[in-house]
Symmetry: D2
Subunit: 470 residues, 4 copies
């Protein structure tokens, strides 16, 4: 499976109310973006020193924060983070938000994305005396901000200058003693939205977090934009790092798989984009069948789109065990052998004697697809037609998605027919590459790097993901 690396959240209640519980609920709704570690850092803007209280740990939000942990974090400004590690190993030291003191007081940073020039940045910083206590990119960003701050009028000016040195993907939420800042790389790889609830301003990776906490959606932070909320409740916007829209490179996998379908990112409904992907799958390669179903959960909406376009009834074909998700996706977990059967089961009564269309968001190594198709055949399916709501992906992502090594990808040096044969489907088709723009109504410019090997921004010369742990 592919993995997103992070979700970020920030809130500033100008009127002084405590925010930690809201961050907690916001992180719960972003949990799908990272299940390895999480953290909350808060401060009180009336404290002249801006002392930061934080709690971070390994595990899900409701595992790390138990009992009265959240109550012990008073403060009216704060940031939160959920993490899946692509760069930086999976240790407590690397949990975010990063909390630090620098020349102007305290900072807390939450970062979603992956820098492509971290080795150079790290080397440059080290050569001027920096020390690194983590292996996460956020520490590099913090250093750049701290250094730029010396000659800057404000923290947001320092963020702007630091951004000029950052390459790659980053959606940031930064808390300074009396300001909350949201910023996004000029390509807009990762999402970041602005919300408002009463006297509080909110930044979050996805709009679903706004819905959960009852905040109103204001707008997206634009690619390259720096949005600062100050203590008067003013929103100050800095567009100096922005690029023209046609150079943007929004990650299309946010729509295909990562984001929650109830989110709207950069003006595009995730639900709608999946419905469209399903429709195109049928329209571009129609087939006759008795039932269409999604591989839960991520294939469901595209399957519904397929059903709408084809008239083939939508069916619920699988039961998913909702209690065990994380156990099996945790890095370093052994005994994966039974994991598909433990997580999914096919319902004989739903498929027996039927021609089944199964929609999934992607095929990575192909092992899950293989098991799912066998499971359907064992449950009596007469035919199994696999439909994938994205093109075959073949290239690494340097911008915040965890893709296995190329050689492990089923699409590597295989034709679609060879893949079909390997997974045992009767037919197999993928979403066409030219349809990717259509599923977001061609309203935003997307990154197709993982399908084409062509990226909006130059990738690093060698694959540097995870280098600092080697």
């Amino acid at each position: 499976m592919l993995h997103e690396e992070c979700g970020v959240f920030g809130i500033y209640d100008i009127a002084g109310g405590d925010v930690a519980h809201t961050i907690y609920y916001g992180l719960l709704s972003l949990q799908h973006r990272g299940q390895e570690s999480c953290g909350i850092a808060v401060s009180n803007t009336s404290d002249p020193r801006g002392k930061v209280l934080s709690n971070k740990g390994m595990g899900l939000v409701n595992e790390v924060f138990t009992g009265d942990d959240v109550d012990k974090l008073p403060g009216n400004i704060g940031v939160g983070h959920v993490r899946y590690s692509t760069a930086g190993s999976s240790t407590r030291e690397n949990a975010q938000p990063l909390v630090l003191e620098y020349v102007k007081g305290t900072l807390a940073l939450a970062h979603n994305g992956n820098l492509t020039n971290s080795p150079e940045l790290r080397e440059n910083l080290a050569y001027t005396g920096a020390i690194f206590q983590t292996t996460i990119d956020s520490e590099l960003i913090a250093y750049l901000v701290a250094r730029e701050r010396i000659e800057s009028e404000s923290v947001e000016e320092a963020v702007g200058k630091a951004m000029k040195k950052l390459h790659g993907a980053y959606s940031l939420v930064i808390m300074s003693p009396r300001k909350l800042i949201g910023a996004r790389d000029p390509f807009g790889f990762r999402p970041l939205v602005i919300g408002k609830r009463d006297s509080a301003y909110v930044f979050a990776s996805e709009t679903c977090a706004l819905d959960t906490i009852g905040a109103e959606y204001v707008r997206d932070v634009e690619p390259g934009e720096i949005v600062t909320v100050n203590s008067e409740g003013e929103i100050i916007s800095d567009h100096s790092n922005c690029l023209p829209k046609d150079r943007h490179g929004h990650c299309i996998f946010e729509y295909i798989y990562f984001a929650r379908p109830d989110s709207t990112l950069d003006g595009i409904s995730v639900y709608e984009s999946r419905i469209k992907a399903g429709k195109y799958l049928y329209e571009d390669d129609p087939i006759e069948a008795d039932v269409v179903a999604g591989v839960p959960e991520s294939g469901n909406v595209a399957a519904l789109g397929y059903s709408m376009a084809s008239g083939i009834p939508f069916g619920q074909v699988f039961v998913k065990n909702s209690y065990i998700g994380r156990t099996f996706i945790k890095p370093g977990q052994k005994r994966r052998e039974d994991s598909v059967m433990v997580k999914l089961n096919a319902m004989r009564n739903a498929v027996e004697g039927k021609r089944v269309v199964i929609v999934d968001d992607s095929i990575v190594r192909g092992t899950t697809s293989d098991r799912i198709i066998s499971m359907l055949r064992e449950a009596g399916a007469k035919e199994v037609h696999m439909r994938i709501s994205s093109p075959p992906f073949l290239w690494p992502c340097f911008f915040g998605t965890d893709v296995p090594a190329r050689e492990q990808l089923i699409a590597f040096e295989r034709t679609i027919e060879e893949i079909r044969e390997k997974i045992g489907a009767d037919t197999l088709s993928y979403l066409k590459l030219e349809r990717l723009g259509d599923i977001v109504s061609n309203k935003i410019n997307i990154c197709r790097g993982c399908f084409t090997g062509t990226y909006p921004e130059n990738p690093p010369e060698e694959d540097i993901r995870g280098e600092f742990e080697k």
Copy 2:
């Protein structure tokens, strides 16, 4: 929400292979039947003393068993249990399986159900010198078996005699040093199935556990039957406690809500019974609408049946946060106020401007329905029609289901019209009482007690659930 109280699992590998990992996977697949505590007890049939190793704890299966906990339970015979507490408070002492030594060696018991004569049994036992270290019914059953064993030829004979003294619901799996026994009350309130995998025999609450571990379904333990697996791998059946089929009282809520839809219980597919419930909901009270959807997860299959019958397209209208289930259903949890919004969100693009039919399995207090309907209206639904795949329930269950006090039930002293008004639906209808038999094709005799107040077996004179903690 209603709660089942337990899931049971047992396995005996005649060839001597270790079984704890299989029990672990079996319990994972029965986790929906109980999330408060769980446990595994194993033994080695080649050990003359039948020493039992066990591990029990509060929490989900993958919370209690971490690291190499399962590896530390060697043995070729074992039982497992997942628990939600209705009788017996939610403490570690009450976790099952109950492990004990008696006149003939060791026993381990796992029990699903609720006895109706536990106060009398307890009193009788106490008056002859019994001491009680837990508040669970299983301890009473163990005592009766232990006492009957003295004058019996075999443990299964003792179980048979003990059963004559038990009233109420019980599906039992019992491990003695060299036998594994499955037994079920004469009314068959709770399910219990038999499976086989290679040299191992299995008992489980539902067939989904057999699928997960790759075992073949053999048959159901019959109501009143005692099935003994001995060390030769023979299956010995004792029907002396059985009742004629027309006196059976299978819990209909297993089909409507508790069991996993991929399970087949007493010959009836849970999936099919829900599809039928959805069809009858449409047929008995048709309405025009643009989309039909289930309240996840339990309403989905019935919604699909409604869609099939009506031709109204099935839609995915809600997103469920799959990471937080247990946090909010745990007894004693505070801060429930936001729980519906944290768990569910409606997708505007799926409902805006539409007439929506929503199918749920039941309405308990009505607060969730109320929130769901508001959520749909806020997301732009033009009409919201609520359909419930069971009749209104109004009566306590004494046979293993946790129903709130009558006064808390929305259907208590309210007409359907009053309920509709209270939850804010445009229309509301329930499954008709006379349809209950139809959804299981009238092949089995069911208990309708929670809808009618008439039970297959006399209920206790007063509500005794939870008495021993008072």
Copy 3:
């Protein structure tokens, strides 16, 4: 090292004040009697049902009770226990107090000692239908009390009848809904004292616990006596199980090693008895030396007595690491190889060039003595004279002390000269057997079983300690 198995504590505040914190402090002061597990059970005498709240766990008192754990145990009557396992394995199930419900309500038991007829009792109980959920003697005692209670007027009468069936050592504290009972076996093997603080009556294994909580010493429970504190604050005494004083068999090792030196047990100061033992060691076998020291902590007082009698200056020769005690005495602990050096170090400046007399309470396997003597020689001691404040012990204890198997005892089939040679001392002498009575001023009748093999009460025919775990 030898190990005591338990410490018990009970308190009943007639005026209704909470007692859990007092039990906590009492257990802290009895911690030396058991470090494996501990527990507190409390109840409220104004609660008609006598509901018992308890918390038990593996570890030291301040490890098991952290945060507000003690605050969560409201109640004006309670018992506590610290445990080292001799009979019954070291698992959470076996932690005490044992809490149970029986025909007359609730009971909580804390037991110090070891029954010698537990197999027979267990068998008899099993043959009349008892089930056992632990492997501790306390469960047998509870059963006997529960059965006798049926035909008895009061719980104390039932305790008295049960005692007639118990053989071996037991000091008991029992909490019933409105009475607190202290009882002791007729031989008085293990201590039990009565204290009073304001409106509260207290039972404790040693007077040091009374000092810690600021209670006044009232008297010892007599061997065979049952002392009942009722809700009027009356103390009712039952002597019907008492034996003449010359049949008593107080454990002499309580004075030599187990008890804290600030305790007074059955009228004898532990401190004084150790001072005397040290004096006799010198008087019965005088030697010239430059310094005398104890092996910390248990040898210190006897060494002081030796110094007083001999005029040889008392010295502090060892430093003990006070942070690691339990880590190395915990059953099942590996890596014992360095344990003596980690726990003790000799001070060169205190011993270099000197003739050193070292006093210890006993030699068990001899490995520690060997290491200590080497350590002293490496630190420059010219001569090392070992003095042991008890006779060589050679026989098992069936009355509550954990003595290794005979073959592991250094005194087994060795003369004193052979022992001296093995441990490498220049001279070695033990307290003479005939001095044992003298160290308690011949005021109480003592058990010399571990030195002579002759016991006050018949031992079991075979060594049954720990049998139920086999």
Copy 4:
């Protein structure tokens, strides 16, 4: 009570053997120097990147390292730390060793002491772009080393340059990928010794740690010296930061209280210095008495010296509960009210009717002395004479000792007679100031700052301890 802040340990096995277990045992023997947090960091010198594995946590060494935690730290070079917080709050982030990456690879630092110019250092570093993730001095030291490293030939050269900027007390052990460095501030405030065991070189705060692991004492690191162990097993010494001996300022409280009596620091036996202190206490102010005893543990050796000089018999007067130490000294602990009685008890038989001399190392607030004297009187002492083996202290320590605010010190604005009256002693005398040099035989130059207010090095203008948490 006064508190030391830290103990450090480092080891490098040139032959490649694993060192984590040795560090574990070394830290156990330094546990008295810090009980709040601890950590171990190791590396493998054959790994070209010098990857560091570490484990740190809150609590005692045997609480943080349990199960196979130590086994999971393979490597032949490593550092360890035990910590009591004076500067830097008591949080997991502040646990040491500090592990970091810098321009030349990895570093791990363990630090004992307190810098006096940390605010200036911090400010200077911040003004050149440093970020701080902890509030401990070690992070400042690491930054200085990292910055100096850029223009230095070697890490030890960088350490030497960094030391020129550090004011205050520091004993450091630093691990670089292939070197282990021990360094000490030019005044020698805190101890640091060198040991050797087979192919391994060791640094430790005290010689007792060498004894525990079976290493041979080589010599002390000299004040101002930098000792580097390289991969050839050579010891390279850099004296360029050393000061003449008469400017040294060894902390006299190491001898009086902090260090273990079996340690020898800078050539002076801690045991001997305490014996001498006891002797002077008698000689300078003789009194007649029946028994002399120490307040355990720290007063024992001085009491022994007093006994030797006076001929008054040494007695064991108190029993100390050895299981509860840390519970009551932990910062933030409530319910201190009973703590003296829970920790100590007086033995009536040892004091009744006697004139008692009690020796303690110091009086801080006086509350403990008050309780102890009452306890002795309640136990029947006829007279109680208090003797303190150090002069009254009145001034803050800026060099690594945690002294309460002046106003809380009993000696603040009180004459000795007033103190005597307040604590209720019959007589009271302190060690004379002029005796301090004598107790270390005037062989080393000591710091008397806490008694005189005159320090070897200028203290900071204002008390900056703990500032960064404010």
